[in-house]
Assembly symmetry: C2
Homo-oligomer: 344 residues x 2
Amino acid sequence: MVSGDRKKSRATLLDVARRANVSRATASLVIRNSPLVGAATRSRVEAAMEELGYVYNMGAARLRAERSQTVGVIVPNLTNPFFAELLAGIESVVDAAGMVVLLANSADQVDRQNTLVRRMREHGVDGIIVCPAAGTGVELFERLADWGLPLVQVLRHFSAQADYAGVDYAGGMRQAVDYLSSLGHERIAFAVHGPVHPAYQERVDGFRDAMCSHGHDASMIVRVPSKIAQIAEATQLLFEQKAEPTAVICFNDVIALGLAAGLYDRGIAIGRDLSLVGFDDVTDAEAVRPRLTSVSTMPVAIGENAARLLLERLADPALQPRRLVNRTTLHVRQSCGPAAVLTL
Amino acid sequence: MVSGDRKKSRATLLDVARRANVSRATASLVIRNSPLVGAATRSRVEAAMEELGYVYNMGAARLRAERSQTVGVIVPNLTNPFFAELLAGIESVVDAAGMVVLLANSADQVDRQNTLVRRMREHGVDGIIVCPAAGTGVELFERLADWGLPLVQVLRHFSAQADYAGVDYAGGMRQAVDYLSSLGHERIAFAVHGPVHPAYQERVDGFRDAMCSHGHDASMIVRVPSKIAQIAEATQLLFEQKAEPTAVICFNDVIALGLAAGLYDRGIAIGRDLSLVGFDDVTDAEAVRPRLTSVSTMPVAIGENAARLLLERLADPALQPRRLVNRTTLHVRQSCGPAAVLTL
DNA sequence: CACAAGCATTAGATCGATCTAAAAGTTAAA
DNA sequence: TTTAACTTTTAGATCGATCTAATGCTTGTG
């Protein structure tokens, strides 16, 4: 039984039909559980499928019907836990709809992204969820619209012509600034890094607006390296500003954790000498000491939203482009203290 | 131009052929850049493809030829950064081979895993890479062998009949134990959690063997909760052992970070009062203070190995089952100190 | 000059499902 | 009994590629 039956390819719908004494068409109706077939016939066909160990051939089906039950997902970076959670959210909703995720990594490069989109189209995906690479142009969206291939942007909002699921970054910045202000902070720095894209811009703008509305100087924006070890070393950048900050808001938790390490190395007490607010609220925010106060963006929920947007568009392609923007929550822990205590 | 051309479905190979004044068969040969076609014909066909904006229809191709250029990947947990990195490694190799990843999450549940495997087969994947759910039985492997669907196990080695890519967990445990012994530690605890699967068992066995070969008592195995905040709270479990440990080896870095937080809360100095060794060497190991000494398992490399094993099997299905086991590296940082200093 | 060999091209069958439009069977109403 | 209406089933075309086996066209050879 080991060899020999290698050749006998899998049973087809025709085999099932013959065994159940019905036509191919009827068998097909049974699979798609159409209400048209009679109960007796249905169970006869189902029995036949069972006996033959029949497995459905999506590929053949998709050729005729124009649905592949497949969704393409393109992210700029898989190693980043943030995107991993986003992906988990997407996958769970897509899976629950009986569909499957085709995954690819653009490495934040526009040309790779183009290749991937093309490849996904070749594979006949029903739609695409993409966190567009920094520098993505309108062509991408025009091309997909031309092809009639539904697309959902996630996290980075490049085109108003396509659906978008994301987070109110500006609102999150405001929560952080408001909170620090309520503690008496005025000289607040914003530590950033990474490629410039809409999500980046929204955060910077949100910071500026919030600071201005409090009458604070919003010019203290500090660029730090991308790898966590280098961020720690770059901590002194904070103290080379024209006015030394009493608090720092971070573009994301990677920066916050890096700076926390750097501050520790310099003997600066977080929450007393300097207050720190992170962004994203990754699991480790709860694990470090002092616990990191962070703006929670809930990537899993965003992923779920994106997938739902796509499924709804698949169901009704005539829908107007929609935006689904989640609110953030400030998760207050231990990394901030009153500004008054400071004696610089 | 907005509406109206919705109907004109994408150009087919026949359209291309007609425009280039060749047969469908020739056009097909051009796509698959067969050496059979003449240079002049080839460029004529390529021009036609360009002009018509032709895109290849994988689905149709796969129906006839028995290759889908698709690899199924099933992991037990996407939110875990470890698996995210593993996935990144798999994706990069699969992508470089011009193939695409079909992703799914088993949530470590055997029945979900079965559903997913079936779904992947329906989608006609060429092979599957799976980190099998705890409790997976031999049926899975027998079934896939029956179907002639290549499978690679990753991280958890359940069946000797199928390829496996993983890590020398036992070796890693030995490195940790040897290192701590060299610092004079004898009462070493092993903090574990999560479902029991081969990777779990290998680590436990590795710990026991290494401890015994040093003549130490290997019975201090402590189960902690799974969420990081609860691990911190569970830290006192370490001090309820019959003999208080002077060092702790952790099943993974999540536990290590959780315990580090718990120890901090109790005012116990890591590296002086108690030594701590993590497992996996996630990026945050470098970011916490004191920096965490950890056994590095390099998930990206394992993912790459798994993908390569599968590609090679696809190329030659007659290959004997193979094991590809990576060596670990002990990354010494700051969380361990000599045992002699202790004054409990 | 006939024949073989090699190269480039092609017609037509085929993969395994779905779809359309019609046929067969059943029941109800006129 | 005939007709209409409804339910259930089906034959055959179809989706867009690949594959097989054959064909036409050059060349080279005895």
